[in-house]
Amino acid sequence: MKRVYPKEENCMNCRLCEVACIVEHSDSKDPLGAYFVEGMGFNSAAGEGIIDPADALEAGKPRPLNRISVSLRGYSSISTNCRHCSDASCVLACKNGSLYYDDAGRVRLREDKCVGCWMCLMACEFGAITRNPAAKNVPKVRKNGINHHCDLCPERSSPACVMVCPTGALVYEERL
């Protein structure tokens, strides 16, 4: 199965992968629409997790959140996302079967089922799962949201992040 692999020597921390991901998963599929019309400019990757996603939700519908993110330390950066593991830890930990494998072997989310218990976030060894505050299935639980992770852009032949990367710091290929 083809997966996205980072090539960190090539990464220049431009974060276009994050932008392309957000735009691809927006309603308008347009950067201006995605950033300035659909949302309120809330970005989980820009902060250090200090901004509570629920605050963004309470202030209005947040724009789509990036499913890939660049991690930066000094001058070195690396862009990572869901590994789509076989026998993935998140699927093994999901407390009500919201995470599943589609026919292509991708780890996907049943968005109408996830209750935001964060077993997946606890389980994922790659730190690839974030919280999406735009949806919730248990209305009484405050400040929650649901699982958010890379879906490998099912409508595209190659994921948007890989296509946009100007330096080849992300590759989409089959490895053994």
């Binding site: 330390r73 026998d87 009500n96 077993m119 060894e125 490895r175």
Partner: protein, 420 residues
Amino acid sequence: MKYTIIGNSFASVFAVESIRKTDSKGEIRLISEEEGPAYSPAMLHEYLSGVASKGLLYLRPSDFYEKNGVEAILGSRVDKVDAAARTLSMGRKKLEFKKLLIAAGMTPFVPPGIKGLSGFDNVFTFTRKTSADSMLRKIKGVDSAVVLGGGLIGLQCAEGLAHAGIKVTVVELADNILPLALDDDAAGMVLEELRQEGVNVITGNTIVQINGRKGKIESVTLRSGEKIKCGMVVVAVGVRPNVDFLKDSGIKIDRGILVDERMRTNIKDIYAAGDCAQGLEILSGKKMPIPIIPIATKQGSVAGYNMAGKNEIYPGGLSLNALQFGGLQVVSYGFVRDEEKAEVLKDRDHQGNRYKKIILKDGRISGVILLRHIERAGLFRYLIENKTVVEGFKENLMLWNFGVAHLPKDVRDAMFTRPV
């Protein structure tokens, strides 16, 4: 019938899927004491309070058994296994098996010594859907409840009852709640959140007597002499591996069913997985039952692969917790209270009320608590399970924005350059 599975929860569901990935045809028979399709016991509090609809409880779509060619015998209790004769009995009915997986789960422990416990209708445990259903039928006539046990099940049940509009008091014998998952600092912060949710918690105390008239609970008496008015009592002091029916079976049992790295018991072609099994714990190197979902599913999956002929190794389990009360999330890994001969890194950010604690032993991580800051938590799981020496970059671990770039290059390469 090639495969027989006792139990119908996480371990069994993942065993079925692993068998099917390896053997698309071999017949599978699954026997469970409980009626209905596999559901999540970890959803029961949300079901009880009505915040989650019934459909969210079930682990798999309704065609799971049919699609995987599983003959499901539900509502039948296996009361005996004869390993030598390779049979199991359900009352008078006897079935032969070839390969057997025992994934019979756990049973709630009800402590002896509480006077009046058996004399009342509204006394419940909280590990099964049938208990939650009974509670739902009685809940309308009740305005207050006492939960005995401040572990995960007790606290979740208490929160569920509070969300359903019931006045709840939790009574915990230990000095603090969640003693296995949290340290005192984190437990204090969770306690504060629970109080805001309307859950009152009493620690260092226990119930000695249940009082009432004509089968109707009126109050409980605590060891301290204090009386608390209530119309319902939930006993949630802990769970035990469900192994009593295996007495005299020939299968080796300690606290749970002892299994090797392929989930095999001491008897050929008999496997065990999940809450009833006692497998390897990765930090201590000892075998212990750890009744949590990620271990049940992993063990079930490994058992299924091996039963179907694929060689798959269980690397050992790590105690993992993801807890959520009100708007507070906590994730913890390993042994969070064992600070003997350890270096403890701690940071409490009072403004955001976040808390982070890392316990290091011999340059490796042995325990982690992350409270109100669970982003990228799983990276710590990777470092613990791979026994990565973190001595050289331990100051990075304490950064609130700790991420992939803060790991050494060789660790990053091992993580992200190969398929998993």
